[in-house]
């Protein structure tokens, strides 16, 4: 009797329990084998713990047992949607360690390849990110244009995904005749297609509602968390290693670094769309100003850098891709090979980004930091 009559507090009636929800590793929106253990209060996320390492292959250990020249091929397999950028970072780090001069033409072609790769990588990001949120069409459009880039790469080096396209000291191949014209016509095509993507998304009410004010992070916090690349620039921090520490031939080109203002998912989307256009600008300048000359510098066949260590970082599509190399000065393989993977460092920020958001936003936030698990796990 008394129990029924006793007044109940309204909160007690709808008391919720914390629920632990496992997401992944075989979840289509985790872009690979990422497992996120979510702690939920109703539909709100309280905490998220990322479990990674499902495709850990020990690339660093493998590289320490390979020749300096053979490693280029293994770097392809880390960020496999931007293999040329990985090649670029590695060969430049070795060149820095050996103090090798690279011919100007090679540096230009490297820039073109890296920027084409950035467009391809961003295409993949755009397609999958939009599909995660529910815009199916964009995936098909973006993959269609990515296909053109893969064709260009295939014509250049014969491979479509893992290019092995650079060597310490330069490039293995000069560009095939007529390739530069094809690159230019691709740039023209891509510019029109970008407008098409933006028609689908930028002012789309559903898209804006799903991304505006989702995963807001301040610039200061983003720096502290070690975010890099578009997630950092989305919060208004001007940090692009192409500008700050120019590698390849970037110092010779004119381009802008797009910055966000609010640090939310929509801003990160907008700056990546601008980066497409900046990449196209760089490619145009590089193709039009492509100097004549050799593509390979004077490098011994068997590399043996002097004893020492160096850290070299470049701006990959995902952020700061750094290589820390140590040579002991007498063997033909690196004593220590370390990659600073941008996806790994950005993924760390997921825990902070998802706190307080809905479960459905977790999918959007995994998409916005643009991870490749091959690089996270190595």
């Amino acid at each position: 009797m008394t129990t029924l009559d006793a007044p109940r507090a309204s909160t007690a009636q709808f008391d919720t329990n914390e629920l632990v929800l496992n997401m992944g590793p075989q979840h289509p929106s985790t872009h690979g084998v990422l497992r996120v253990v979510l702690k939920l209060d109703g539909e709100r996320v309280i905490d998220a713990d990322c479990v990674i390492g499902y495709i850990h292959r020990g690339v660093e250990k493998l590289c320490e047992n390979r020749d300096w020249t053979h490693i280029v091929l293994l770097t392809d397999r880390m960020d496999y949607v931007a293999a040329a950028t990985n090649n670029l970072g590695y060969v430049e780090a070795v060149e820095k360690l050996m103090q090798v001069e690279v011919p100007r033409r090679a540096r230009y072609i490297r820039t073109i390849l890296a920027e084409l790769q950035r467009i391809a990588s961003h295409c993949l990001w755009l397609g999958t990110h939009a599909m995660d949120i529910g815009a199916m069409t964009v995936l098909l459009y973006a993959f269609r244009e990515r296909e053109f880039i893969l064709d260009l790469f295939e014509e250049y080096c014969g491979a479509r995904l893992t290019y092995n396209s650079m060597r310490v000291g330069g490039l293995p191949l000069d560009i095939p005749p007529g390739w530069d014209k094809k690159v230019l016509s691709f740039c023209d095509l891509m510019e029109g297609k970008l407008d098409e993507y933006e028609t689908l998304l930028t002012n789309n009410r559903i898209w804006v509602q799903r991304t505006r004010n989702v995963g807001v992070i301040s610039g200061e916090e983003a720096i502290g968390l070690g975010l890099c690349g578009p997630p950092l620039r989305g919060s208004g921090v001007s940090r692009d290693l192409r500008k700050d520490e120019p590698n390849a031939a970037y110092e010779e080109f004119d381009f802008n670094v797009p910055l966000g203002t609010q640090g939310d998912t929509y801003d990160r989307y907008l700056i990546r769309m601008d980066e497409f256009r900046e990449s196209i600008r760089i490619i145009r300048q590089a193709v039009e100003g492509l100097p004549e000359g050799p593509v390979m510098g004077k490098v011994p066949r068997l590399l043996k850098p002097p004893a020492g260590e160096t850290y070299h970082a470049i701006e990959s599509p995902k952020g700061e891709l750094g290589y820390f190399l140590v040579s002991d000065g007498r063997s033909t393989n690196p004593y220590r090979f370390r990659v600073r993977p941008p996806s790994f460092c950005n993924l760390q920020g997921l825990k902070r980004l998802v706190a307080g958001h809905l479960v459905a936003d977790v999918v959007a936030l995994i998409g916005t930091i643009d991870i490749v698990l091959g690089e996270v796990d190595r």
Partner: protein, 247 residues
């Protein structure tokens, strides 16, 4: 097939004209080995000398900066203000490195982050290097970057397996996963870390894969099933100085 000795051995014993066999003649125009072997077979072969492996490397020298290289502001200021905590300053191919006493690591890092000249507000990377012959076998390396002044610096501490290394997560929350990875791969003992678990390897993994004494091909199934047996087998094979046959 069963002949295990190097091919240049019979050449040395039979053919006197070849006076320089010590140079590795693995080239395509070397003598065809089959005919030489047939001649040499009745003679007892001299046992090949066990090759003395070169001493394992102890790490680069950490070159001091050349005379004409002026230390930039951010190095000079930490050199003067924290002189007692700094062991050495090094410069190599354009990179500045400071080597810090392990106990003072956090002080130096705090100074580097908060000082107006250094302003290292971004922790790019944390990694380690293993040099087994050294007493303090690990170099723990911090790559710092300043987003406002755009300069880089590496900070290095030298530790062994048990030395406590103060975690820098209080200064840079982003160091969390990076330190976890160093712990996972090398077994460096970070203290005051909020969440020191393995990150790339499974939680119950034994051993630290990036150490130089860890086999490249991995430990095989035995380690996962019975680590004690694995260790015993490994010790035996180490003593016999043969290839470990564990799989």
């Amino acid at each position: 097939m069963s002949d295990e000795s190097p091919k240049k051995e019979p050449v040395k014993s039979t053919d006197e004209k070849k006076v320089t066999p010590s140079a590795d003649s693995a080239g395509p125009n070397g003598p065809s080995s089959t005919s030489e072997k047939a001649v040499a077979s009745p003679k007892p072969k001299p046992k090949p000398k066990p090759k003395v492996p070169p001493e394992p490397p102890k790490g680069p020298e950490d070159q001091a900066p050349p005379e004409d290289q002026v230390a930039p502001d951010f190095v000079a200021v930490v050199q003067t203000e924290m002189a007692d905590a700094i062991e050495k300053v090094s410069y190599w191919v354009g990179d500045w490195t400071i080597i810090v006493h392990t106990g003072r690591l956090l002080d130096v890092m705090r100074f580097l982050k908060q000082n107006d000249v250094t302003t290292f507000d971004y922790c790019s990377d944390i990694t380690a290097t293993d040099w087994p012959p050294r007493d303090k076998r690990f170099d723990v390396i911090y790559c710092l970057y300043s987003t406002s002044r755009r300069h880089r610096l590496r900070v290095k501490v030298r530790v062994n397996e048990t030395d406590p290394v103060e975690s820098v997560t209080v200064l840079w929350p982003g160091a969390n996963w990076l330190e976890r990875e160093v712990y996972d791969q090398f077994g460096v003992n970070f203290v005051n870390h909020p969440d020191l678990r393995r990150i790339l390897m499974p939680d119950d993994w034994q051993g630290f894969p990036q150490r130089k004494d860890y086999p490249l091909e991995g430990p095989g199934e035995l380690l996962m099933e019975n680590p004690q047996d694995w260790l015993r087998l490994r010790n035996v094979s180490d003593e016999a100085n043969t290839e470990p046959e564990i799989e």
